[in-house]
Symmetry: C2
Subunit: 219 residues, 2 copies
């Protein structure tokens, strides 16, 4: 069966995926930008935002994995945009401009229905109001045997972790302390002993960790 | 002025310094032993418990730093022993046998007074009921210009972090998920942006991170 994967999810040493005080102008909270600087120093990260340059190397290789073998992406409402509640005049089509960096069907978890949005480059966003398991079923169907990326944010990944639905997770530990903010690992008692470390490696700016779900028989 | 240092403090990927369900028989909680296995694979770690063997290398070099330039150690009551409340017949002299691995004056934070205990190898344990700042003053005096080690556990380090009193901190990130337990980083909003990363390096089993307090002018 196809796998459910998380890639390039950055957390601080003290466990925060976003800093305190998230707003529309500061979507990652105070200090949260520090968690993602590594991305924009890579060639693949620059390419994602339509820029040249950037470094090859460990960070670049890890970052690029987010597209390899992925056939559909799931994300939370807050990752898709800043609008809360009903969609209003429905002009918002994501943070990413005309040609979003997904190039596959995207399933946005939302309690507010909305017709799909077809963008350039193969990204069509669907809005799913039936829970994370239905969203995953739809994503698996759309992925036609390829893997499903859980794109984020922290709340969405946490929900899929709590449900035992994530097979592989690549975390990026950024050596800063944020002091407060939104945690990835919170109320997840069930994941104790559920993953083993497949790889951990230090790059100059960050530490990469790949976790794989253990077969229940191996726990 | 002498520095206040933390060394070899292990946390899981999800931020726990001990697993759930700590008891006298399982002082590190379920799965908590995983956090410290790396120590007992090092030469210096084996030496600490009176055994030969163990590996040299990155882990060994980091572990051995806990003694270099240290003139006194502070620890919490729970790190000293399992007894809660009054000391009773006061036979308990620590987890470490006749010759504890500190070789310097030790200051144990306790609300229950008790005369000092002099052990072999230069370890004399004093019991301080006047708060963390007084304990640090006494430790600095006893250290005669050398540095003070905050030995642990998590609660004690957290108190010193919250008070802004720790200058250097060596953390060891162990690539396991414990799911629940006791966190090091909790209710420490004030440490956001207070430390910079002096070094981070992956060893085969764990990741080492050294943090140094930034001068207030640099924040």
């Amino acid at each position: 069966m196809s796998k459910v994967r998380v890639h390039n999810f950055s957390i601080s040493i003290d466990g925060y995926a976003a800093g305190p005080g998230q707003t529309l102008d500061v979507p990652l909270g105070a200090g949260g930008r520090l968690l993602h600087e590594w991305v924009f120093n890579t060639r693949a990260g620059r390419q994602m935002i339509g820029e040249d340059g950037g470094d090859e190397g460990i960070d670049d290789e890890f970052f690029a994995q987010r597209e390899v073998g992925i056939g559909a992406t799931i994300m939370g409402r807050n990752m898709f945009g800043p609008i809360r509640g009903p969609w209003g005049d429905a002009q918002w089509s994501g943070w990413w401009g005309e040609n979003p960096p997904f190039h596959c069907p995207v399933f946005v978890l939302s309690h507010h229905p909305r017709p799909p949005i077809e963008m350039q480059g193969g990204t069509t966003s669907h809005f799913v109001d039936a829970g994370i398991e239905v969203a995953l079923e739809r994503a698996r169907d759309a992925a036609s045997g390829n893997d499903v990326l859980i794109g984020g944010g922290a709340t969405t990944i946490r929900e899929y972790l709590a449900a035992g639905l994530i097979d592989e997770m690549h975390l990026v530990i950024v050596p800063v302390l944020l002091g407060s903010g939104e945690r990835l690992f919170e109320d997840l008692a069930g994941i104790g002993n559920a993953y083993h470390c497949a790889e951990h490696v230090s790059a100059p700016a960050v530490m990469h960790v790949r976790l794989s779900r253990m077969e229940p028989s191996a726990r």
